[in-house]
C-alpha cells in the first residue's frame, strides 16, 4: 500500500497534465489566433483606387495622397513636445490629449495623432520625423474630385464600420469602402486587391524578418479604371439649370440604354465628403430635411407621372384594339362619366383623333380610351391586370435593375390592388379613371419616365439603363445591359404616338420650345400632388414634368425632367428638357433668353410655403 501511493500520485499527475494539454492544444482553439496576433504583424499594401472617367474620357475622380501622423505609444521616447507640436502645427495641449487618447486605445497599436496633412506639411515634416521615436507618417489615398457635379451618382468612400469588418472578410479596420453611387456599386472593381505582407515580430513588436520567408505575401493589384456613360458637360449644365429647384433630370441614349445624364437637385459638391471634413459635412447634409440633398431624386423620388403617361395609355388602347387612329372623340372642357363626376380638360379644338389629342393633351380622349381597355374584359380586375402588364413591360411599377445602388419601384396598380380597396370586385373602370392621365395611383421615378421615353423613341424596346460604359477601356459585357427588353406593344402602334409627341412641339403644348433644325418629340405633364401638413392632406403647386426625345427619326437622347412644384409642364421641365437636348446635340445654346429665364427663376419660395406655418396659395 505504501509503495503504491507514490506511483498513484505520479500516474495521476501524468494523466492530468496530458488532459490539460489536450484541452489547451486540441480542444480550445482560441490560442492560435492569440499567438498570431502576438507574433505576426500583417501589413497591407493598399492599391490605388481606380479612376472614374466620363463618356468622353474626361477624368472625374482620381486620388490624392494624404498623410496621417501616427504614433505607437509604447515606442515613444521622451521628446521635445514644444518643438514637435510646432512642427505639427497644433498646440501642446492638443498633442498631449491626442497622445493620451492613443495610450488609452492601445499602447501597442498605432493611432492617428494628426490626420490628413497636406503635401506641403508632409514635405516639411518628413525630414524631421527621424528624431521622434514611435511616430511615423502613414500614407493614405483619398479621392480627388475633378468635377463639382454628379456627387450623388459618383458616391463617396469612407472608413468601414466595425459591423462591416466583422461581416466582410476583405476589410480591416481603417479600410475605405464605397458608400453610395458608383463607388458603392463598383466597389470591387474600383478598390483592386490589397497586398499582404506578414512580418514576424518579437515581444517588443520589432520586426525580425518576413514570416515563413514571405510565402504567404501577396502584391497589391491596382483598382480598375471605369468609364461612365455620363456626359460631364451635360451633368454640369443640368445641375446649373436645376439651381434653385427641386427635382431630377434623367437622359438616356435610347440605342444603348446608357444614362447620359442623371441630375438630382439640390445636390452638393462631392469634395465635401472627402477627408477630415467628411463626417461634419455629411451630418449637415443628412439633417437638411427640407432640401434632402442626399436623396437622389432622379432615382428615388416617385412622382405621379401626369400627362406624359397619356402616350402609354394611347399605345395600350391601340394594342388592345379598342380604338384606331382615325376615330375622333369630342371634348367639351372635360369628360362627364357620372351624374356628378367630371374630369376637367383645358380649351382646345374638338373633336380630335389620337395624334392631335396627344399633342393637345386632351384628358377626355385618353380617359375614354382607358375605360375601353378596362371594360374590354368581363371583369374590371382582369382589364386592370392587362393594362398593368403592358405598363410593366416599359419598366414601370418595379425596379428597373439598373446599376445604381439606390432606386424605387414606382407604382402601377393591378386588379388585386383595387380588389383590396373595394372588396368583392365592386369597382369599375371609372373608379380608377385618373390613372389614364398619369394621376391616381400611378407613380414613377424620373429614370422610369426617361426609360419609357427611350422605349417610345425606339418604337417598342429598350435596354436596361446603366451608368457603366467601360472597365479599363473594355466595354461592359453584363447580359442585363446588352439584351433588348421588348415591350408588349406592336411596332406599328408607335407611329401615331410619336407623331403626337412631335405635334406637341409643332403645334401643341410646347410649341415655343422648339430647337432650330432639330425634330423633337415630347410631352408635357402637370401633376397634382399632395403633402401632409400637421396631419392634413394639403395640395401643393403642381409638379412640372416633361419627357422628350430627339431627333425624331434617329433618337440620340431620351429625357425626362421633373421639377417639383414647378406648375405646368412646359413652364420649367419643358424648358429645361429643351435646353438639355440642345446642349447635348449641338453643344451650343442658341436660345440665350430661354436659358436666362430658367437660370433666373428659382422655386425656393414655393418650397418654403409648406414650412412657413401660414396658409398659402398654390399654382400661382
Amino acid at each position: 500500500m505504501r509503495k503504491l501511493l507514490s506511483v498513484a500520485i505520479i500516474l495521476i499527475t501524468g494523466f492530468v497534465f496530458i488532459g490539460r494539454l489536450f484541452y489547451m492544444q486540441v480542444v480550445d482553439t482560441s490560442f492560435v489566433g492569440l499567438s498570431e496576433n502576438n507574433a505576426i504583424s500583417v501589413d497591407y499594401d493598399y492599391p490605388q483606387r481606380g479612376y472614374i472617367f466620363d463618356r468622353n474620357g474626361e477624368l472625374l475622380v482620381s486620388n490624392q495622397p494624404s498623410y496621417d501622423v501616427m504614433a505607437i505609444p509604447r515606442d515613444i521616447e521622451p521628446f521635445d513636445t514644444l518643438e514637435f507640436s510646432g512642427l505639427l502645427n497644433i498646440s501642446i495641449e492638443r498633442l498631449e490629449k491626442q497622445l493620451d487618447k492613443a495610450k488609452i486605445y492601445s499602447p501597442r497599436l498605432p493611432s492617428v495623432i494628426v490626420p490628413q496633412l497636406t503635401k506641403d506639411e508632409f514635405a516639411f515634416l518628413q525630414e524631421k520625423m527621424r528624431k521622434y521615436e514611435g511616430f511615423y507618417i502613414q500614407k493614405r489615398s483619398l479621392r480627388d474630385y475633378k468635377t463639382k457635379n454628379s456627387a450623388s451618382e459618383l458616391g463617396y468612400i469612407s472608413e468601414v464600420t466595425n459591423a462591416e469588418v466583422d461581416n466582410l472578410p476583405y476589410y480591416k479596420s481603417g479600410d475605405l469602402i464605397g458608400r453610395s453611387g458608383v463607388e458603392k456599386q463598383y466597389e470591387e472593381v474600383l478598390r483592386g486587391v490589397k497586398g499582404v505582407k506578414y512580418t514576424q515580430k518579437d515581444r517588443f513588436n520589432r520586426n525580425i524578418g518576413p514570416y515563413k520567408e514571405g510565402i504567404y505575401d501577396t502584391l497589391p493589384v491596382k483598382g480598375k479604371d471605369i468609364t461612365l456613360t455620363l456626359d460631364a458637360k451635360l451633368q454640369a449644365y443640368g445641375e446649373k439649370l436645376m439651381q434653385g429647384k427641386h427635382g431630377g433630370i434623367v437622359a438616356i441614349e435610347p440605342s444603348s440604354g446608357e444614362i447620359i445624364s442623371l441630375v438630382t437637385a439640390p445636390t452638393y459638391d462631392p469634395a465635401l465628403l472627402v477627408g477630415r471634413k467628411r463626417s461634419k459635412n455629411f451630418t449637415k447634409l443628412w439633417y437638411d430635411t427640407i432640401n434632402k440633398p442626399l436623396l437622389n431624386r432622379g432615382l428615388q423620388a416617385m412622382y405621379p407621372p401626369g400627362s406624359p403617361f397619356k402616350a402609354l395609355t394611347g399605345l395600350i388602347a391601340l394594342e388592345e384594339n379598342v380604338i384606331d387612329t382615325k376615330e375622333t372623340i369630342g371634348c367639351h372642357m372635360g369628360f362627364r362619366y357620372g351624374r356628378k363626376s367630371k374630369m376637367g380638360c383645358h380649351s382646345h379644338a374638338s373633336p380630335l383623333s389620337m395624334t392631335p389629342a396627344l399633342a393637345q393633351s386632351c384628358n377626355t380622349y385618353f380617359a375614354k380610351s382607358y375605360r375601353r381597355v378596362i371594360d374590354k374584359y368581363d371583369k374590371a380586375s382582369d382589364g386592370m391586370d392587362a393594362w398593368s402588364n403592358h405598363l410593366k413591360s416599359f419598366g414601370l411599377g418595379g425596379f428597373l435593375g439598373n446599376d445604381l445602388p439606390v432606386g424605387q419601384p414606382g407604382r402601377v396598380p393591378n386588379g388585386d390592388y383595387y380588389d383590396k380597396w373595394y372588396p368583392g370586385g365592386r369597382w369599375t373602370s371609372t373608379y380608377t379613371l385618373s390613372n389614364a392621365i398619369g394621376q391616381g395611383e400611378v407613380l414613377a421615378t424620373p429614370i422610369q419616365l426617361a426609360n419609357f421615353t427611350a422605349a417610345i423613341a425606339n418604337r417598342g424596346w429598350f435596354y436596361t439603363p446603366h451608368i457603366l460604359k467601360e472597365i479599363d477601356d473594355k466595354p461592359i459585357k453584363d447580359e442585363k445591359f446588352i439584351q433588348k427588353n421588348q415591350t408588349t406593344i406592336n411596332r406599328e402602334h408607335f407611329d401615331p404616338i410619336v407623331e403626337g409627341m412631335f405635334g406637341v412641339y409643332e403645334y401643341g403644348t410646347a410649341r415655343f420650345l422648339q430647337i432650330p433644325e432639330v425634330e423633337i418629340c415630347g410631352k408635357t405633364g402637370t401633376a397634382e400632388n399632395f403633402t401632409k401638413i400637421d396631419g392634413e392632406r394639403t395640395q401643393l403647386t403642381d409638379h412640372s414634368i416633361f419627357i422628350a426625345f430627339a431627333p425624331k427619326d434617329d433618337p440620340k437622347i431620351a429625357i425626362a425632367v421633373v421639377v417639383e412644384n414647378g406648375y405646368w409642364g412646359s413652364r420649367f421641365a419643358g424648358r429645361i428638357a429643351s435646353l438639355m437636348i440642345e446642349k447635348y446635340l449641338k453643344e451650343e445654346i442658341s436660345r440665350k433668353d430661354l436659358e436666362k429665364w430658367v437660370l433666373e427663376h428659382s422655386l425656393e419660395e414655393e418650397y418654403a410655403k409648406p414650412y412657413s406655418g401660414e396658409p398659402f396659395r398654390i399654382n400661382q
Partner: protein, 417 residues
Amino acid sequence: MGKSTEIDWITVFLFIILVGFGWMNIYSASLNEASTGFFDMSQTYGRQALFIGLSLILIVFILSVEAKFYERFSSVIYLVALLSLLGLFVFGRTISGSTSWYTFGSFSIQPTEFAKIAAALALAKYLSDIQTNIKTFKHQITAFGILFLPVLLIMLQPDPGSAIVYAAFFFPLYREGISAGYLLVFLSFGALFVFTLLFGSIWVSIGVILMALLVLFINRKKKRKHYIRYILVTAFSIGFAFSVTYIFENVFKQHHRDRFNLVLGKEVDSHGIGYNTRQSEIAIGSGGWTGKGWTQGTQTKGNFVPEQHTDYIFSTVGEEWGFLGSSILMVLFVCLLLRILFLAERQKSQFSRIYGYSVAGILFIHFFVNIGMVMGIFPTVGIPLPFFSYGGSALWGFTILLFIFIKLDSNRKNYQF
C-alpha cells in the same frame, strides 16, 4: 563473491533522451541571427552543450567512485552543503532579488541545486540507521530537522521555489512508515491557507467553527467527547488563518502576493504580472496537434515568453511539438519516475531505497510544479524542469542526483548487511 556492476540502461536511456530533447528546445528558444553553429559558446544553446559535455565527465566520475562512499560520507556531504548555503550570506551574489549564487569570473554556481542531493543522502543515512525508528516522535523530529535546516537557509536567500522542492521528501518518509496523518495535516493547512487568501480570515474562522460543530454533531452518539481537542484544533486553525493574513499582508513582498492573487483568480492582468503565464499558455495552446515544427514557433521566435530557455522551456515544447510531442514528454517523465521507484523497491539496502525514493520525489516535485506553472495551473514558482531547463548548476545537480542512484543500484548485488 565477485563484484558485479549492472548499470540500469533504461534509466540512462531516458536520461539521454530528456537531455537531448531539452537541448533541442533550448536551441530553438535561444536561436537568433548571431548564431554561427550548434556549439557557439557565445550562445545559450552552445553553453548548454558545454554543460552537457561536462555532465558526462561528472557521470564517469560518479560511477567510478565506490558505491559505499556515498553512504559513508553522507554526513560530511550534508555538512559541506549546509556550509555552502551559509557561505552565500557572506560571499553570495544577488541575482534578481535572491542571494543564491557563487560567482567565479563569468561562471556562476548555485549551491541550492546540490543541497537537495546532500539532504537526500543525509535523510537516507539517518532513516536507514538501525537505531532509527521513524514511528517514534523523537526520530521524526530529527528527520524533519535534517530537512528543515537547508529549507530555512534557502528561504532566507530568499528562494521560496527551491524550498518547496523539499516537500519531495514526503515520498521516502511515507514509504518508510511515517503516518499519512502528517500529509492530512499538511493538506488541511494548505487548504486553510488558500481559503484564507480567497475569503479572508473572518469567513474562514466562521467556516472552521461550523465545521467543528458539524463533526461534533455527527459524533454525538460517541461516549467520550474530546471537547478540549475540538477547542484546541478550532482555535489553532483560526489563529493560523489570522496569521496567514498577517504574513501575507506584512511579511510577503508585493510580487509574492501578486503571484498568489493571480493564480487564485483574484486578479486578471495579462500585461502585467500574469504576462509570463499568459504568454506561455498562448505558446502551448497554439501548438495544436502536432505543433509548428522545430524552430518554427512564432511565440518562441518572438521571445514572447520570458525565461523561455530556463523555467518556461516547456512552452517551447508545447508550441513547436504540439500535443503529440508534449504528451510524449509527459510519458517520458512518468516512465523515468516510475522506473526509479521500481529500482528503489528492488534495493536490498534501505539506504539505497530511501535515496531512490528521494530522487523520485525531487524529480517529481520539479516536474509537477514546473509544468503546472507553465500551463497556468499553479502559481509562478521559479524552479527548473529537470534535464530540460538551461543552466549548468541545475543540470549537474540532477545528473549527480540521478547517477548516484544508478551507481547505488548497480551495486545492489554486492550489498552486505
